[in-house]
Symmetry: C2
Subunit: 165 residues, 2 copies
Amino acid sequence: MSANATRLVGPAAKPARHRAILSLVRGGIIRTQEDLVAELHRRRFPVTQATVSRDIRELGLLRVHDDAGSRYMAPVAELDVEQTMQRLRNAIREHVQAIEFVDLLGIVHTAPGCAPLVGGALDGSRFEEVAGTIAGDDTVLVIARSRPAAQRLLLRLNSITEEEG
Amino acid sequence: MSANATRLVGPAAKPARHRAILSLVRGGIIRTQEDLVAELHRRRFPVTQATVSRDIRELGLLRVHDDAGSRYMAPVAELDVEQTMQRLRNAIREHVQAIEFVDLLGIVHTAPGCAPLVGGALDGSRFEEVAGTIAGDDTVLVIARSRPAAQRLLLRLNSITEEEG
DNA sequence: CCCGTGACTGCATAAGTATGCAGGATTGAC
DNA sequence: GTCAATCCTGCATACTTATGCAGTCACGGG
């Protein structure tokens, strides 16, 4: 084998490089993909911006704005739209007994003790229609942003109940 | 006044436009600034991509990756680095009595009942060094990712205690 | 009224990111 | 070994975003 042992290269390097990237964005401030390329070179990963672009997508990194510009950040499970919706579907199907709206207020009846779980799933879904929720023991109060929003929300929640799994 | 009442234009339009942008990114899928420009035009905000770029920075929008590409998302308080660090500083200064490390484990003694608050603040800070935390009533257990990480973490937490207000 | 100031924006373009394509490496079947 | 299929990557470039500069407008002071 003639591979240069000081360079982390080839298909096998990808998982290691991904770990390095996560560590870099968690540990320091990475503003551009070129920053990342430079840091990776220092760690013996001889890659280009194109590869880093693909890595970033595969890792699901976030780009956030701060007052000095924007930077990359490690992914946050709470922002994964699909995962979050799945959680809401499960919560509704398994623990919700009834949903009713009175004007702007949605009253969601759940199994005893399950209200916080359902409320959390609703919060996590960040529906445009929802201003906020309050969870008791077996009831979640959902405050809609407007009457049309309340109507849309009811439809949306009902459609979740009706989907097949 | 000769202003065209059907166009939302001029300095006064900015706050309204910002609200519209937030609503758009919460309500639908916005993948590029040009998408946003198009939607804003439909809502009578005759702006260009340059202005939208500035708006996005001012609003602190996030860019997240999903399997179809990337999209914009409304800001999430939990990701605001400064706010999160401030919360940690407050939590440590007000409720923490002692910090000690045993190998990879940090033992943080807090006032009675305050451990969950302190643990939450630590989680929120997403330190690279921290694998996770467990909060009881008056103690938070912090699991570091490695021994060097544990040492760095101890320094970091101590430096928070010592900062001035 | 005239001027200075500050906020806001568009234009043009620089800066940064994503991707079609092709080549090299690896794996597994035969 | 040979071949096909797959994965990974770089190159070049298309696409997307950020920004220096200059112009417009509203406001307040003189």
